[in-house]
C-alpha cells in the first residue's frame, strides 16, 4: 500500500480530508465532469522496485555498444574531470529551481556570474547570458535577435559550411518566425566570401552566420568579413564549439557582434545528445535585446556583494508576447558543470586539450593519407581537430568494419560524396589511432 515517495499514512489522509471538507480522495474532483474521468487502470507497466529497475537498466545498457569514438559533427568525446559529477550531484545545486529568491540562492547566482564572465572572456565578447538549450537553438535565438534589432530587414545569410544540424534548426525557427534564410555556398569546404559580399550588397540582410571551425573542421580565414557585414549594417554571428575558443582567434577578434555555439566540448558527457549547453554572448550594446536569464552583481541591504537575476524586463514572465524570447528553463546545472570544468582546466589545461586534439587529428590525417586509400577533401585548408577525407572504399562497409572492432569511425559528412569525417580529442591515444589506421589498411 505505502509507496516510498508518498509520505501519507491512512490516518493522515483521513484527517486531511476532514479539513478539506470532503469524505474521500475522489470527492476532491467532484467538479470534474464524469465523462472526462478515466474509469480504468492506466495501460502502463506495474511499479518496479529499485532491484528490478537496476536489472532492467543493466539489460538495456548491454544493448548499447561501448565504442572508441572518432566521431564529431558538433559533439566531441572530451575528458570530464571526476570533480564535475561529484559537485553537481550536491542537492543544494541540483534540487533548487531558478534563483528567484536571491537571499537563499546565492550559490546558483554566483556560479552563473562566474560562467558569464568565463564565457564572455572565451568568446572575446562583452557579455553572456545564463545559457540556452544547445548550440543549435542558441543560433536560432541569435537569428531572431538580429532580425528584431534590424527593424525592417528580414533576411539572414547562413554559411553552407555551418553544421547542418544547426542549419536545420535555424531553418525551422525561421520558417515559423517569418525570417528569410539564404545559404551562402561553400567553396573548397569554406564560406565563399565573394558570394557573401555579392549577397550582402543587396542590402536586405539583418545578419550573417558562420561556423568556426566550420562543419568540415576547417578553421576559416574570416578577415574582412566583419567589415563586409558592418558596411551593410548587418550583424555578424559566429558559431564555434566552445573548447576551441581558447586556442583559436575568437569571435570578438574576428569582429563578430554575437557569438553562439555549443559548450558540450567543455567537459560535458556526450550522453546520446544531451543535455548540453548553448552559449550566447554579445557586444554590450545588444544587452537589452538578449534572450534568456542574466545575472548581475549588486549588494544586499548590509552592503555585501551579492548577485541577482537582472534585466528581467526582457523576459517572458514580465513581457509575455513582447519578450525577447520564450525561454524559461535553461540548462541550469550544465552551466555549473562547464564552470567547474573551466576552473579546473585553467588556461594551461585548455591549451593542452586543444594542442593534443589538434596534434592527434593531424597525425591521424597524415597516417590516413599514407594508406593510399584516402585523399584530402579540401586541399590547402587548415583544419583543427576534425577533417574530411575522400576515399575509394565503400564508406558504409568501412564504418561497419570499424564498428565490429569496437570503433565509432568517422561520420559520413553531409554535402560531400565518398568521404568520411574524423574527429580526435585529447582522449584518443596514439595506440587507438594506430589501430584505426590498421583497420582501414586491411579494409
Amino acid at each position: 500500500m505505502a509507496y516510498k515517495y508518498f509520505p501519507h499514512t491512512e490516518e493522515d489522509i483521513q484527517q486531511m480530508l476532514k479539513v478539506a471538507g470532503v469524505q474521500t480522495l475522489a470527492d476532491l474532483y467532484a467538479e470534474v465532469p464524469e465523462e472526462l474521468k478515466l474509469k480504468r487502470d492506466y495501460n502502463i507497466p506495474s511499479e518496479m522496485s529499485e532491484v528490478e529497475i537496476r536489472k532492467h537498466f543493466k539489460e538495456l545498457g548491454d544493448k548499447n555498444k561501448q565504442l572508441v569514438c572518432f566521431a564529431g559533427g558538433g559533439v566531441y568525446d572530451h575528458y570530464t574531470p571526476s570533480v564535475i559529477g561529484y559537485i553537481t550531484q550536491r542537492s543544494e545545486f541540483l534540487t533548487s529551481y531558478t534563483p528567484y529568491q536571491a537571499e537563499i540562492s546565492q550559490g546558483t547566482l554566483q556560479y552563473i556570474f562566474e560562467y558569464q564572465t568565463l564565457m564572455a572572456d572565451l568568446t572575446g565578447m562583452d557579455i553572456s547570458n545564463a545559457s540556452m538549450y544547445d548550440g543549435a537553438t542558441a543560433t536560432a535565438e541569435a537569428m531572431m535577435m538580429a532580425v528584431a534589432n534590424a527593424k525592417k530587414k528580414n533576411k539572414v545569410l547562413v554559411s553552407a559550411a555551418l553544421n547542418p544540424a544547426v542549419i536545420r534548426v535555424v531553418e525551422t525557427y525561421a520558417k515559423y518566425h517569418g525570417v528569410e534564410i539564404q545559404l551562402i555556398p561553400a567553396a573548397n569546404g569554406a564560406t565563399d566570401k565573394t558570394a557573401l559580399e555579392a549577397e550582402l550588397a543587396h542590402g536586405e540582410t539583418a545578419r550573417v552566420r558562420i561556423g568556426q571551425p566550420n562543419y568540415y573542421g576547417i578553421a576559416e580565414d574570416l578577415s574582412g568579413v566583419a567589415d563586409m557585414c558592418h558596411e551593410q549594417k548587418a550583424l555578424l554571428i559566429i558559431n564555434a564549439p566552445a573548447s576551441t575558443l581558447a586556442a583559436l582567434k575568437t569571435p570578438g577578434e574576428w569582429g563578430a557582434d554575437i557569438a553562439v555555439g555549443d559548450a558540450q566540448s567543455l567537459g560535458l558527457p556526450m550522453s546520446f545528445g544531451g543535455p548540453y549547453l548553448g552559449y550566447f554572448c554579445a557586444k554590450e550594446a545588444l544587452v537589452r535585446k538578449m534572450p534568456g536569464r542574466i545575472v548581475g552583481g549588486t549588494t544586499d541591504h548590509d552592503g555585501k556583494r551579492t548577485f541577482v537575476l537582472t534585466m528581467q524586463a526582457r523576459e517572458q514572465h514580465i513581457r509575455r508576447q513582447k519578450a525577447t524570447s520564450n525561454i524559461c528553463s535553461n540548462q541550469g546545472i550544465m552551466t555549473l558543470m562547464v564552470t567547474i570544468y573551466m576552473s579546473l582546466m585553467g588556461p594551461q589545461g585548455l591549451k593542452e586539450v586543444n594542442e593534443q586534439s589538434y596534434a592527434g587529428a593531424h597525425y591521424l590525417y597524415d597516417e590516413l593519407l599514407k594508406t593510399g586509400k584516402m585523399t584530402p577533401a579540401f586541399e590547402g585548408q587548415t583544419f583543427f581537430n576534425e577533417f574530411v577525407v575522400k576515399t575509394t572504399l565503400d564508406v558504409d562497409k568501412l564504418q561497419q568494419h570499424l564498428l565490429d572492432n569496437g570503433i565509432l569511425g568517422g561520420l559520413k559528412p553531409e554535402g560531400v560524396d565518398n568521404a568520411i569525417m574524423f574527429a580526435v580529442t585529447e582522449q584518443r591515444s596514439k595506440a587507438e589511432i594506430d589501430k584505426l589506421v590498421e583497420l582501414i589498411k586491411e579494409a
Binding site: L38, K304, Y358
Partner: protein
C-alpha cells in the same frame, strides 16, 4: 543551507602556476596550431588546484536552498522530491558515452528507453504519439504550436494565424506563440478565475489557428467547461493546445486527450520528478492526437516489426527543433520514475497532491485572503494577508518564510490579483511538513500585525539580507571585469 555567507568568486582564488587537472603526455610531436589562426588575447580562466575548486563550490552550495533542504511550495513549478535512483541511471556508464550520431545498431538500448518513454507518456496523456526532443516546457510549447501551424499549412489554411490564450496563462504561452509567428488574442477570465466562454465566442473566427490552455489553470481551478470550449475551437477549425505545466493533479483521474486537446506538452522536471537543477536542464516532450503524428519534429524514434528501434525522418515533419534527441539524460531520469511508480502509484499521485493543496488552503484562509472559494486542484492563490492595514506585502511574507527554513511560494503571479501568493505542495510532502508550514504562515500573519517592520525587513536569518535589484539594473555588473 547555513546562515554564513560565502561570497568569494573563483577568480579571487586563482594563483599563477596552480593546476587542477591531469592529462596524458602529448604523444604526437611536430604538430602545432598555426599562429595565423591562434587566439591573440590571454584568457581570464583561473588557475586553481583541485581541492581549492572543490571547496569553493561546496561552500557556494551552502548558500543555496533545494528540495532536499526543505519544503519548496513554488506554485506552477511542481517541486516534488527528486529520487536518487534517477540520478544513478542518468549517469549510467552504458549510456553516458553514447554519441548521438552513432549507428542505431550501436544504441538500441538508448533508443528503447526513448521509445518506451514515448509510449508511457502517450497513455498518461491520452495521446497517440510523443516526441521527447523539446528541451524544456517553453520549447515544448513552441514545438507544439509549430505542429499546429504545420497542420494548417499542409491543409493549405494559410490565414489561420491567431492563437487564443487565457489572461491567466503562464507567460511562456504568449511568448512561445510570438516566436512561432502567431498573433496572440487574450481571452478574459470570469470572476471565479476560469475562461469566460461568452467572451471567447466573439473571438472565434476562420483566422484562429488554435487555443492554448492549462487545466487546471494557474489559479488551480479545474476548467469544467473544457468540453464546450474544445468544441467551439474545433468547430472553427482550430486545434486545442494543452500546457502541461499543471498536469500533476490529473494523474490517476483524467487525461488531456480525453478533454479534447489535440497537442500537449509535459514538463518532465515537474510532473515526472527530474530535478530542476537551478533552472535546468528540463525536458518538454510533446504529444499529439491520432492524425498529427507525422508532424512531430525530426528525428523520430520508431519500433520496427522485428522489435528493433530505428530513427525516422518524416517529410511531413515540422522540421528540426534540436540538434539531436533533446535532453536525453533527463529522459533517463523520467523513465526511471515512470517505472518506479507504475500504474499503481500514478493512480494515486494526483489526488494526494490535491489533498495537500486543499488542506493548506482551508487551514490558512482565516489569515490570508482567498479570492476564489471552493475546491482547488494542485495549487491555489491567496491575495496576500487579509489584514492589509500594516502594509505588509506578499513580498514581505515571502521573505519572512525564508527565515523559517521554507522556500517562498510563487509571488505576484498570476497577474489577476495584486498580491498573488501561489502555493503548490506536491504529493511528496508529508502532513508533518505541511503542518509546520501552516503554523509558520499563521505566525507570520501574527507578526505582520504586531511587528510589521520586522517582517518588512526580512529575511534576518538567510545568508544575506534583501538584495538591491534596482541597483543591479542601474549599474549593471554582468561579468567580473566590472569589479576589476
Amino acid at each position: 543551507m547555513n546562515s554564513t555567507y560565502y561570497g568569494t568568486l573563483i577568480f579571487e582564488l586563482s594563483k599563477k602556476g596552480r593546476k587542477g587537472y591531469s592529462l596524458p603526455a602529448n604523444e604526437f610531436k611536430g604538430y602545432s596550431i598555426p599562429e595565423n589562426i591562434s587566439r591573440q588575447s590571454e584568457t581570464m580562466l583561473p588557475e586553481a588546484d583541485e581541492q581549492t575548486v572543490v571547496r569553493h563550490y561546496t561552500n557556494m552550495s551552502n548558500n543555496n536552498f533545494g528540495v532536499d533542504t526543505g519544503f519548496y511550495p513554488l506554485g506552477s513549478c511542481t517541486m516534488k522530491y527528486n529520487p536518487k535512483i534517477n540520478e544513478e541511471n542518468a549517469s549510467h556508464p552504458a549510456f553516458q558515452g553514447l554519441h548521438p550520431l552513432a549507428p542505431t545498431t550501436a544504441v538500441q538500448g538508448a533508443l528503447e528507453v526513448y521509445y518506451n518513454t514515448q509510449k508511457i507518456l502517450s497513455e498518461l496523456g491520452g495521446m497517440s504519439e510523443f516526441t521527447l526532443n523539446p528541451f524544456a516546457g517553453a520549447h515544448g510549447e513552441l514545438t507544439g504550436l509549430m505542429v499546429i501551424r504545420n497542420y494548417h499549412l499542409i491543409r493549405g489554411d494559410l490565414k489561420l494565424t491567431k492563437i487564443i490564450i487565457a489572461d491567466s496563462a503562464h507567460g511562456t504561452n504568449p511568448a512561445s506563440a510570438a516566436v512561432c509567428g502567431l498573433e496572440v488574442v487574450e481571452v478574459k477570465s470570469t470572476d471565479n478565475g476560469t475562461v469566460d466562454v461568452e467572451a471567447l465566442k466573439p473571438l472565434l473566427g476562420d483566422d484562429v489557428a488554435g487555443m492554448m490552455m492549462t487545466n487546471p489553470n494557474t489559479l488551480g481551478i479545474f476548467e469544467t467547461k473544457i468540453p464546450e470550449i474544445a468544441k467551439l475551437v474545433h468547430d472553427c477549425g482550430g486545434l486545442m493546445y494543452y500546457d502541461g505545466a499543471n498536469l500533476n493533479p490529473l494523474l490517476g483521474v483524467c487525461r488531456p486527450g480525453d478533454m479534447g486537446f489535440d497537442v500537449m506538452h509535459i514538463n518532465l522536471h515537474k510532473t515526472f520528478s527530474t530535478p530542476h537543477g537551478g533552472g535546468g536542464p528540463g525536458s518538454g516532450p510533446i504529444g499529439v492526437r491520432a492524425g498529427l503524428e507525422a508532424y512531430l519534429p525530426n528525428p523520430q524514434v520508431k519500433k520496427a516489426d522485428n522489435g528493433t528501434f530505428y530513427v525516422n525522418y518524416d517529410n511531413d515533419s515540422l522540421g528540426y527543433i534540436s540538434g539531436f534527441f533533446g535532453n536525453y539524460a533527463v529522459v533517463l531520469r523520467a523513465y526511471t520514475f515512470l517505472l518506479s511508480a507504475g500504474k499503481e502509484q500514478f493512480a494515486k499521485m494526483g489526488s494526494l497532491a490535491v489533498l495537500n493543496a486543499n488542506y493548506i488552503k482551508e487551514s490558512l484562509k482565516d489569515c490570508y485572503e482567498l479570492p476564489i472559494q471552493g475546491l482547488c486542484k494542485h495549487e491555489f492563490v491567496f491575495n496576500g494577508l487579509i489584514d492589509k492595514s500594516q502594509h505588509v506585502t506578499t513580498l514581505d511574507v515571502a521573505k519572512r518564510l525564508l527565515d523559517y527554513g521554507f522556500h517562498a511560494p510563487t509571488i505576484y503571479f498570476p497577474l489577476l490579483f495584486h498580491e498573488a501568493l501561489m502555493i503548490e505542495p506536491t504529493e511528496t510532502e508529508s502532513k508533518d511538513t505541511i503542518d509546520e508550514f501552516i503554523k509558520v504562515m499563521k505566525q507570520i500573519a501574527k507578526e505582520a500585525a504586531e511587528d510589521p517592520e520586522m517582517v518588512k525587513s526580512a529575511p534576518h536569518k538567510a545568508p544575506i539580507t534583501r538584495v538591491d535589484d534596482v541597483k543591479a539594473v542601474k549599474e549593471p555588473k554582468l561579468t567580473y571585469k566590472a569589479y576589476l
